[in-house]
Subunit: 373 residues, 2 copies
Amino acid sequence: MYRFKPELRIPGPVPVPSEVSLQMARPVINHRGAVFKEKFPDVLSRLKLLFGTENTVYMVTGSGTAGMETAVSNLVSPGTPVLCLVGGFFGKRWAELCTAYKAVVHVLEFPWDRGVDPDQVAEFLAQHPEIELIFAVHNESSTGVLNDIEAISRARGDHQALLVVDAVSALGGTPCEMDARGLDVVVSASQKCLMMPPGAAFIALSERAQTYMEQSEASRYYFDLRRYQQFLEKGETPFTPNIHIVFALEEALRMMEAEGLENVYARHLLMRDMARAGARALGLELLVSDADASPTLTAVKFPQADEFRQRVRERYGVEFAGGQGVHAGRVFRIGHMGYATPLDVLTALAVLEIELKKFGRATEAAERVMAAQ
Amino acid sequence: MYRFKPELRIPGPVPVPSEVSLQMARPVINHRGAVFKEKFPDVLSRLKLLFGTENTVYMVTGSGTAGMETAVSNLVSPGTPVLCLVGGFFGKRWAELCTAYKAVVHVLEFPWDRGVDPDQVAEFLAQHPEIELIFAVHNESSTGVLNDIEAISRARGDHQALLVVDAVSALGGTPCEMDARGLDVVVSASQKCLMMPPGAAFIALSERAQTYMEQSEASRYYFDLRRYQQFLEKGETPFTPNIHIVFALEEALRMMEAEGLENVYARHLLMRDMARAGARALGLELLVSDADASPTLTAVKFPQADEFRQRVRERYGVEFAGGQGVHAGRVFRIGHMGYATPLDVLTALAVLEIELKKFGRATEAAERVMAAQ
């Protein structure tokens, strides 16, 4: 019955370590000055390890969607044939973005509780040699599905299409391996596994994607990566950047490097396994099968999910996220990404246990409803 | 010969009060949660006083240019006839943005050391009844010119064109009076007179502009104001916002309201007059006449401006900005906006005086060069 210590257990934005938060309060510096010019390219290039790439990583001041639109606006011209792999809210967002940019949009829909089927992708591509771009989501945070992005990439065979990946809620929580997996464009953002406040997106492009983007005819200016490329050569951004995210990123990377990236990934897997085992032990039903389960969040089926979330938030200060799209009101999502530990997962499970017991009658009723479903 | 206390005297980003900086370090909250939903619309609506409008103010996470592109992408369709009033770097940016969005771009060029001539605007409009949008800059921070935005607005007479205003380095430093002056779109950003770090843009639209924007055919998603409108009704943004800028804005507005907006504007005028009188007393030549002078920054003509700036920065920690565009290397700019006081201007002038005296010989040579010019 206390709530003075809020626990943000949503799949982003996530809690930020104090060491990182304090960077956000640093004095403003000149983004065209010597200090920034020295720091910025250095910090950005340390992100390459997380992307698993030797390509340049760019920063765009904006949300994750700004990063996604940076990809779309630099690649899609009116009439470009594209394939969007949709198994949740963020796959749908790719399709909406491509539609806004007047692409010829093909959509492969997958149920909102499982991963993209690479065989269906291969089949579709065999029938559609004209497809130039495939848009996929690495970790679909609306459902808690981790897509097998390597298998999706391989499903292309020798098809020409470039693979564009939303790794917003994946990068830093699970290996990306951009180069090894042949991903052509990878987009992420500050407020998920990278343990920073919202405010900036990050994007990397393969050499093929860099070349391809030169031909794009879409109207773009703020998102025009050619400008970012040009300015990064002198250690700057074309437009006033979120300077503090650069400070924060430096500290967040220091912390992740100190922990060791392998350990960071292992911690996320452990949190996934704990969240799933714990929820099951409480008699709760998981949205996603073990094979497709995300290491960064876990979705739990629950009738009256929103009332339950509100109760937990008000009584304990622990905040879960609701369901999105088809799952609205019938699912809650537990975030365990970024600055989160197995102990945080235990806390979340403890709260679930207490609340489920306390309101046993309500729960029993709920279980009957679930059974009926 | 000490530099441990940096003094950022550039026309943005500007120093941020500690009270505001500390807001940037606050714990992350859920941008779809109750606390944010209550705070966000309230804080945004307090900006109306600064805009001088009863229209809705929107926030877009991004730089000032993101705000400018929000205006362009919501208003300009391919082929829309527009007029850009260019007297500096940011007027040029409007023209570049409109070109990127495939408008039919007409440009009225003015010398980069004086204000837009409203008579020329009226004359042009009389010959071009087809113009639908006029893009202007309130305070041209590349030159230190404050344009007479009211006269530009009046110059339209009964011409149909909507007036779109870049008030990035003006809003909060000089009266905007959007409604009284009939400005249709006003764009600003966090890192100038609003005393916050960079990271967000703000935009307001007149009723006519709101209606007009419905017909735009430009590709847009992240900048699509119809989404922002829809989400603001429930106290949210369509995409994860820079949550901390909302905290910071709350505090910055509290400080400005406590000082009183009239006093804020008077302080900026005093800083302008001090900077100009001081520079003149030091024998320096100002770029802009008194009639056109900006209250938020002052540009000083100076041969070898960049070497001089570097010297001042290295010896005293005081940082001035360089010249932009045609003024590169031959002008330095003193920012006196936002969290700046007349005492800060005295400090800047003192540094100028010491350095000019100390390097008297260099200065004399410089003056001869200036005289020769």
